[in-house]
């Protein structure tokens, strides 16, 4: 059985993503052990909270994630997706893992729009043929909770969502994937994407 490592660097709530991947038929190891991560067939980088703290907590595992992403599929979720990009302007200006070109920006203030962007919003599939999106309905709704968004180019954009401005709600480069929404909290559609990711491993 293929093994997916969920990187546990103290950011809480890994249980739903673990069960979602298990449902898709993967063996899961929740770990912060560099060797275990390097030995797995796929990697999930979860994340909630603030960018810099998360990068700090990831610490020496940053290099392990970057190295492994050259060999096996990687999926970043929410803040874990933002960390795949080059920089973030959350509470200062911080460097990310730089696996996907682009920057993380705060939603601008706009009357009538609250931040965080919290709730169910729809996906426009920019690359419907990408394996991560197999079987996902155009305009499918998924669950978001975030105050910052990824600003990248169409080349790396899998799906877009509109809130205050259109933004990249899923990104990819090669076998590095990132989703701003929470697939593990997005009902059947989210589980389908976790299953698709498991299928790539």
């Amino acid at each position: 059985m293929t093994q997916i490592a969920i990187i546990d660097y103290g950011v809480g709530n890994l249980r739903s993503v673990m069960r979602g991947l298990e449902k898709a038929g993967a063996a899961i190891v929740v770990t912060c052990d560099p060797e275990e991560i390097a030995a797995s067939d796929g990697i999930v980088l979860p994340g909630v909270g603030a960018f810099r703290e998360a990068m700090d907590k990831l610490g020496t595992l940053q290099e392990v994630v970057i190295q492994s992403s050259r060999e096996v599929p990687l999926l970043g979720i929410c803040l874990g997706m933002q960390m795949l990009l080059e920089t973030s302007e959350e509470h200062g200006f911080h460097k990310g893992l730089g696996l996907i070109p682009g920057n993380v920006k705060r939603f601008p203030k706009m009357a009538g729009f609250k931040v965080p962007h919290m709730g169910w919003n729809s996906l426009t599939l920019e690359k419907p043929d990408n394996p991560l999106l197999a079987g996902v309905r155009p305009d499918e709704s998924v669950y978001f909770v975030h105050s910052y968004y990824a600003d990248t180019t169409p080349e790396y954009t899998l799906t877009t969502t509109e809130y205050i401005c259109p933004f990249a709600s899923a990104v990819f480069r090669g076998n590095v994937y990132g989703v701003q929404f929470h697939p593990e909290k997005s009902g059947a559609a989210g589980l389908k994407m976790l299953e698709n990711f498991t299928g790539m491993v």
Partner: protein, 268 residues
């Protein structure tokens, strides 16, 4: 493409069992929160709230077990509140599989808990629950709210399940909670809670206008129209209800179909 308005069933739990909802139709074990939440999930609920009213902290393990079972099966956002007083309490609940924690009395006693929680776990998981009641005693410092009958009052924050007034102005407290790191306000008015006469629209709209974070309206829903009113006139981002769902008066799907028919964007 638009952010949809949310419908959130709330389950009150005591010692790991649902304490309302025993008349819920079609379930063998109506008292199990995970089973009930699963039913709401099938109906299209956007989130589920567990409110733990278990009195003793020694029984924290029971709610942890419920959250873990819910997170294993549900795959939708879960908020847990009730008796959380410290960062340790919050961390336990989040690690069990909750996505957000709701703080009420403890946040009033120690507002820094919101800040510390937001710094440690992110604003997105810090919900500030505010219970309010109308107060007509003159208070120059409070922000006045106009009522439909033309009179004016201010809304006072109450704690310990509504039993203890605090003298704190609700609109000011909501703004402070936002500044301190709350990512959402869960507003319950004692004026309307349990009445089935509809949400307390004046205070819901006043707080929604005053803050830049989502506001969840709670307390008093009895008809489909009340949900519409909560979104349209109360300017709520989400509507929470308990008994109308537990007693099977409406399914979540019926509520959403009604709302969509009246032009409120919902996920169906």
């Amino acid at each position: 493409m638009v952010l949809t308005r949310r419908i959130i069933p709330c389950l009150d739990l005591k010692d790991g069992r649902v304490v309302k909802g025993t008349n819920f139709v079609g379930l063998r074990d109506a008292g199990d929160p995970v089973e009930l939440a699963g039913r709401y999930n099938e109906q299209g609920a956007d989130e589920v709230v567990f409110l733990d009213i278990t009195a003793s902290k020694e029984k924290r393990g029971i709610i942890i077990d419920v959250i873990q079972r819910a997170a294993d099966q549900l795959f939708l956002p879960l908020t847990v509140g009730g008796g959380l007083k410290s960062l340790d309490d919050i961390q336990q609940i989040l690690r069990a599989g909750a996505d957000k924690v709701s703080l009420n009395t403890s946040a009033v006693h120690d507002p820094s808990l919101l800040t510390r929680g937001a710094e440690a776990f992110g604003t997105q998981c810090m919900v500030c629950a505010i219970d309010v009641r109308r107060n007509t005693t003159p208070n120059e410092k409070a922000i006045p709210v106009s009522l439909p009958d033309g009179s004016t009052c201010w809304y006072e924050v109450v704690i310990y399940g509504g039993s203890k007034p605090t003298g704190i102005d609700a609109v000011a407290w909501a703004k402070e909670a936002e500044e301190r790191g709350a990512g959402e306000i869960l507003l319950t008015s004692m004026e309307t809670d349990g009445t089935k006469n509809g949400f307390d629209i004046p205070i819901t709209a006043a707080i929604s206008d005053a803050v830049g974070i989502p506001v969840v309206a709670s307390g008093g829903v009895g008809t489909l129209e009340h949900f519409y009113d909560g979104f349209k006139n109360g300017k709520a981002d989400a509507c929470l209800a308990a008994s109308v769902f537990h007693y099977g008066e409406f399914t979540v799907k019926e509520v959403k179909e009604y709302l969509r028919g009246r032009g409120i964007p919902v996920r169906l």
